[in-house]
């Protein structure tokens, strides 16, 4: 994302001084109709170019969403035909204490994920953007968790944390902790999910920040150094502001990801103990594929889509990201 607005800025900066490369109307005196058409073709691709993507989006995103909206008005057990029940599922959704708790847990998870992952990913990313060779090697090591599938990650951590047969069973008593049942406790199970999520996704966000930090012109730091700014000051006044669009991008990914987070919870805790890690996507799975109330599950799913979209839009709007203002104005 940072890349796209950089190029736009450079275009705008250039056009202030000399004729734009792609031929804009003011500099070309009365272009021939034919010329204009060909210009338009080069400069701005027609809507037809978007057709494959639109078709794909329509078939695999828009259509299922319409179907889910319809299913949320029915009662369906996965066999035979859905039975239309109007708003029954929706009124139940509003009154369901389990759903209310799941929404709360989902929000807590989202906030915690952001608080835990953003600073670490930002610092690691900025650090990894440096030039030394050892950084490249270490960055590659940090990057490893991203290459594993969520299911594999959850299985590995479950095995590591097993209170009777895992390494923890061996380590715990030797540290005087007795048997440590991390996944069996309400708070600790939730904390484990936050931790495993961070372990899995920090590399991705680190990569974003690394890319963003490399885009910052070295001249800014040189100027700051001449003015007597130290490392901390440079970080606070140059790196952070320059990375603000990257922070938005990463935050949107993080928030939407946390709201729809599912696979690790399914394998690591199964929503338990009790309902203590039953976040909204897991509740949707439970309602749909354990209780076979696919209509109700659809209502939950649709709510999730709406909430995630709204939050993403709000984030983009209130961070000024949508205006596509450059981080390098005035340079």
């Amino acid at each position: 994302m940072t890349g796209s607005d950089t190029s736009e800025t450079s275009m705008r900066t250039l056009s202030q001084n000399r004729p734009a490369r792609t031929g804009s109307a003011p500099t070309a005196p009365t272009p021939s109709p034919r010329g204009a058409r060909s210009m338009r073709h080069v400069g701005r691709p027609g809507g037809a170019w978007a057709l494959p993507a639109l078709l794909y989006f329509g078939l695999f995103a828009a259509l299922p969403m319409v179907l889910v909206a319809y299913l949320s008005l029915t009662q369906w057990g996965g066999l035979g035909s859905p039975r239309f029940v109007g708003l029954e599922n929706w009124s139940r959704l509003v009154d369901d204490p389990v759903m209310r708790r799941a929404v709360w847990l989902s929000l807590v998870l989202t906030v915690l994920n952001w608080i835990v992952q953003t600073p670490i990913a930002l610092l690691l990313g900025v650090w990894a953007a440096g030039p030394q060779r050892n950084r490249a090697i270490l960055s590659a090591v940090f990057f490893l968790p991203l290459l594993l599938s969520s299911a594999a990650i959850a299985i590995i951590w479950r095995a590591l944390l097993d209170p009777n047969f895992g390494p923890l069973a061996w380590v715990g008593p030797r540290l005087g902790l007795g048997s440590v049942d991390v996944l069996g406790g309400s708070t600790s199970a939730f904390a484990t999910i936050v931790f495993v999520t961070a372990w899995q996704f920090i590399p991705l966000h680190m990569l974003l920040y690394q890319g963003g930090a490399r885009q910052i012109p070295a001249s800014l730091y040189e100027a700051a150094r001449i003015d007597g700014a130290g490392t901390l000051r440079s970080f606070w006044h140059i790196t952070l502001p320059q990375l603000r669009h990257t922070i938005t991008t990463s935050s949107v990914l993080m928030v939407v990801g946390s709201l729809t987070y599912f696979d690790t919870v399914l394998i690591l805790t199964g929503g338990g103990p009790g309902t203590d890690t039953t976040i909204v996507p897991f509740l949707m799975y439970r309602a749909g594929f354990r209780s076979w109330e696919l209509g109700y599950a659809s209502a939950i799913a649709f709510t999730l889509v709406v909430v995630a979209t709204v939050i993403a839009l709000l984030l983009v709007r209130f961070t000024g990201f949508g205006k596509m203002r450059s981080t390098r104005e005035g340079i």
Binding site: P64, L67, G77, G78, L79, G80, V98, A151, A152, I155, A159, L161, D162, P163, N164, F165, G178, S179, V180, D181, V182, L183, G184, G185, S186, D263, L266, I267, G270, G271, G272, P273, G274, T275, D276, T278, Y285, R286, F289, R290, S291, W292, E293, L294
Partner: protein, 425 residues
């Protein structure tokens, strides 16, 4: 042991795709084989052998698809709603196949039994009855009977110098004794909450008798407010507080072998589990199963109204046939194999107690006749055999019920909250 989880996770994703993409349709996979879906555990060897015998005699080739245990019902339901229906599949009879019967997806087997009276007479009538829905036969018994039994490790009992429990006071004394000796009194696979359900089933039955759950089963959710349910829940809380299940039961898995290993390694003294626990140990740790594995009935609870001879568990499992199968004839023929002598002998050899009428002679030839006879008589003499609650109730109530049971065992809800939550289902 981790593979089933991966497969299960992948399967859920596939299930989502198939459920949305291609609902309806009939017939099994187009590879020309007759697909038999089996719950994956150590007992599948019996069905494997039956398929081998069947394939020798039949032109149609049968294959067994083993489905990981903890996701079996989800996968079956999704497959039945798609074009990948199995031809023959394992199930729990009664309530568990009701949704398929409602959609006319199962083949009625009354004609099969009428044409083959020998098959009809081969099974204990009350067990065969459990394969009926709306008075029509849809399932043929294909496994041994599965009462829930109190297993224990004899070596650990000897070490600590105690005797197996006969009364509820014994249970409480044993909890204290083992706790002091540093042994977990009861292995409990809390990561699979259906194992916790077994405790409540027995406690409710011993305290209030089978009528308590019968009322709930008939659809009256206020039945959960019966004092017997509250007392059972308080008893559970008491056991948990006394440390009867140790500290880390919430993370112990049954399907991955955790609880059984705790028992066989002597880290836990007792384990309340279905009779298949015996064959699990035969498979995992044969010397332990043959020398040190003890078993007894669930003791009576003081002041309880239920007959102490009642048992809970699964009367047996059944094979049913999809109505849409391309192999109607061969599939029915295959079902007949479950009453054959070799099949019954295989079951006995693997520690099962068959539900065929001639089982009494067969169990005498079992590798551990004592266990087989014990189990056979336990079931035969039981005035009431309570089918597992989560199989008896429809999934939309059973799923949240099992979660509530988990919350009770983990101390996240009090007995009163537990009762209120269940009554509100």
């Amino acid at each position: 042991m981790t593979t089933p989880r991966v497969v299960a996770a992948g399967a859920s994703v596939l299930a989502l795709l198939t459920a949305t993409a291609c609902g309806g349709g009939g017939g099994a996979a187009a590879d020309g084989d007759m697909h038999v879906w089996m719950y994956q555990d150590t007992l599948v060897v019996v069905q494997d052998a039956a398929v081998e015998r069947f394939n020798e005699e039949s032109e149609v080739q049968a294959v067994i698809d083993e489905v990981p245990g903890d996701n079996y019902e989800e996968r079956l339901r999704t497959a039945m709603g798609s074009s990948e229906q199995p031809d023959v599949f394992f199930n729990w009879g009664a309530g568990s196949i009701q949704p398929y019967v409602d959609q006319d997806m199962l083949m009625p087997l009354d004609d099969l039994l009428a044409e083959d009276p020998e098959l009809a007479d081969a099974f204990i009538p009350s067990v065969l009855e459990a394969g009926k829905v709306d008075d029509v036969q849809y399932g043929i018994p294909m496994r041994g009977t599965q009462p829930v039994i109190l297993f224990y490790n004899e070596a650990v009992f000897e070490d600590v110098g105690v005797e197996p429990p006969q009364t509820w006071e014994d249970i409480l004394d044993l909890v204290d004794a083992f706790d002091e000796a540093g042994v977990t009194p009861f292995a409990l696979a809390g990561a699979d909450p259906w194992t916790e359900q077994m405790w409540l089933q027995y406690l409710v039955d011993r305290i209030g008798g089978p009528e308590v759950f019968q009322r709930i089963h008939d659809g009256d959710m206020e039945g959960w407010r019966d004092p017997a349910v509250l007392e059972a829940a308080e008893t559970v809380q008491d056991l948990v507080d006394r440390g009867a299940f140790g500290e880390s039961y919430a993370s112990v898995s049954y399907t991955e072998g955790g609880a059984s290993t705790l028992l066989s390694e002597g880290r836990a003294a007792m384990h309340l589990m279905g009779s298949w626990e015996y064959s699990t140990h035969l498979d995992q740790d044969r010397p332990f199963a043959e020398e040190d594995l003890g078993y007894t009935v669930f003791p009576p609870v003081p002041g309880g109204e239920g007959d102490p001879a009642n048992v809970v568990g699964n009367p047996t499992n059944f094979f049913s046939i999809s109505a849409d199968t391309d192999f109607a004839e061969p599939a029915q023929e295959f079902l007949g194999y479950t009453s054959q002598e070799e099949y019954v002998a295989d079951m006995v050899a693997n520690g099962e107690v068959p539900t065929t009428t001639n089982a009494e002679e067969a169990v005498a030839d079992s590798p551990n006749p004592d266990f087989a006879v014990f189990q056979y008589e336990m079931v035969r003499d039981a005035p009431h055999f309570q089918l597992s609650w989560d199989q008896a109730l429809p999934p939309e109530t059973a799923t949240p019920m099992v979660t509530e049971i988990e919350s009770l065992f983990n101390g996240q809800s009090t007995p009163e909250q537990f009762v209120d939550a269940l009554a509100a289902l």
